[in-house]
Symmetry: C2
Subunit: 352 residues, 2 copies
């Protein structure tokens, strides 16, 4: 009002850009001026260089009603998961996570005991993952619970792995299995509806234990960096799977200027995930490609490392990179080649 113009603001809907389009747009023309700023927006974490050691910084929001539903998410799990989501970004840079800060905004409807539950999950995650809780902020919110976590990590310069290093012929590798967290979410949503109709119903959720754990208590892949070290494999590019395999694969392609062949029959699926997909009449490949929240690591390695990765129970080789001009494809079980499209969860889509 004093120093700035008051512009008449015209209206462009946020959903017309989507989450990634929005960040790209708002960060357009950002120039890094400090010599310590090595990598800004556009990877899983920012990379800062103080005296040669690389410091990684990543930050994420979790918002009630958008990212979690307290009607079935216990607060202790939520605290645990909030830390995992952020550590995963540091591990996706092939770095060691060392510290987190956690800020929360809460409305007065939360009693102290609820926050103690939340923090017990946060403290547990820090303990198990050897990470120190070094700061944060608590404040009031006009509605609901908001959690913001910043994770800090470090790595040697030659260890840091960006999204941009994949080369044609590199193998595409993923840790663990995919789609289970999404199916856990589907089960929780179904049980919530059942509960509304009949609050006395005592569901037997034991067949779904694995899927529910993947949704409610995900584990970030701290172990992958150590595993790859032992195998003497240096990944050429890496990203974590928060939005779904197809979306993350396309990120690697875009940042590395390469194409990809992704083989449907190589995508690792847990048997219980396949069973529940049948129960829900959903295609398990589609869920693995688009489900998200797996917090597994997706990375590329040079062909020469094939023997080291092949047969390791922690890894699945699911495809290979190609020259960019050859496109990005999913090779189906029926040997059809179809274009790979991002169907990941879009945080800014219009709500119905």
């Amino acid at each position: 009002m004093i120093m700035f113009d008051n512009k008449d603001i015209s209206k462009t809907s946020l959903s017309s850009l989507g989450e990634f389009g929005l960040i790209d747009h708002l960060m357009d023309n950002v120039e890094l001026k400090n010599t310590s700023s090595k990598k800004g927006v556009g990877d899983d974490a920012a990379v800062l260089d103080f005296n040669g050691e690389q410091t990684l910084v990543s930050t994420d929001f979790l918002i009630e009603g958008v990212h979690f539903d307290l009607s079935y998410m216990p607060l202790k799990h939520l605290g645990y998961k909030a830390v995992m989501v952020n550590l995963s970004d540091i591990y996706a840079m092939n770095a060691k996570a060392t510290q987190v800060t956690v800020s929360i905004a809460v409305s007065n409807r939360f009693p102290l005991e609820a926050l103690e539950e939340l923090y017990s999950g946060i403290h547990l995650a820090c303990k198990i993952y050897d990470v120190d809780l070094v700061g944060g902020d608590t404040t009031s919110s006009t509605s609901g619970l908001i959690i913001s976590v910043t994770a800090v990590g470090h790595a040697k310069e030659e260890e840091v792995t960006y999204r941009s290093g994949a080369k044609p012929n590199d193998l595409l590798v993923v840790s663990g299995d995919l789609g289970a967290a999404y199916m856990g979410f589907q089960i929780l949503e179904r049980e919530k509806e059942v509960f509304k109709v009949n609050p006395n119903n005592q569901p037997d959720l034991s067949p779904y234990t694995y899927l529910l754990e993947r949704q409610m208590k995900p584990e970030a892949r701290k172990d992958i960096k150590e595993l790859l070290n032992v195998l003497e494999v240096k990944p050429t590019s890496m990203i974590d799977i928060s939005d779904g395999l197809s979306s993350e694969t396309l990120h690697l392609c875009k940042h590395s200027n390469v194409g990809v062949n992704l083989f449907e029959d190589k995508i690792p699926l847990d048997p219980s995930m396949i069973t529940v997909c049948e129960e829900f009449n959903l295609d398990s490949t589609t869920i693995a490609l688009s489900g998200g929240e797996d917090y597994e690591l997706l990375f590329t390695v040079d062909q020469k490392d094939f023997e080291k990765i092949k047969g390791n129970p922690n890894f699945s080789i699911i495809g290979h990179m190609k020259p960019e001009s050859e496109g990005k494809h999913l090779i189906t079980r029926g040997n059809q080649q179809i274009e790979l499209t991002a169907r990941g969860w879009n945080a800014l889509q219009d709500e119905e």
Copy 2:
């Protein structure tokens, strides 16, 4: 549900603890295990030590309806202020701020052009303060606008200044003047009420320019570290004034285990702030002690540095530290000694 007990949750109101009590309680028993974690919760920023260079990390929330009111806060100013609030925490460690990450959560009622305004303020702040915007997250919110900023800085080990270094007989010094931001807020609140009654009223706000700028476009004190370097003064303790002079002074006392004599007649006040306090029938000392949002730096120096600080227009010597056993006092203009109490803004007080 699977791995954790489901406890019956009893209810203790958050407001019974207050903001600082709440953080202390939730962070109780936090142990720092990584050798790189030098200082966790309990100062303006966390201090991490990677290879000898100290990395500072600080994070803060700004929440619509709690920390700002968009009915009079232009989005560009808000973006600028969100960065300032966080840089101030880094400067309060006597460090150089180098990077920020900014995460926002917005409801779909915000058009793209509104976010462009917000980011124009963020980019401007980064440009003026030589700080790089290196990351962030955008997501949707169920209500309003939420901004989370993390600031990163660095300093040599011997430069980092904690809250805990003040000694008896050290001088208590503050930069700039106090209370103006709070009175700017009072004026904006008054104009909002006037506007509700008569939307066509065109108020003349020119007499309040300085106060409104202090509220709407605060500047963090990047210059203080450089000034003190030139004067060859190393502060013994330091904090920024976000909650009010009395509250911040008591923080220094608590962390340093000292007492204080703070002299009412030495507190720096801008003439326009005094005038507006009279207009509002408010005591200017009370406002300076409790108003908050000044983003000035409060620090202590050894007595031997008196000559270097005295007479410098950037600084006011407002008191001196004492042995803890001698208490914490405000010495009034009438030479009365009264106990200094925290009357700073409490983010978790019950709303009426």
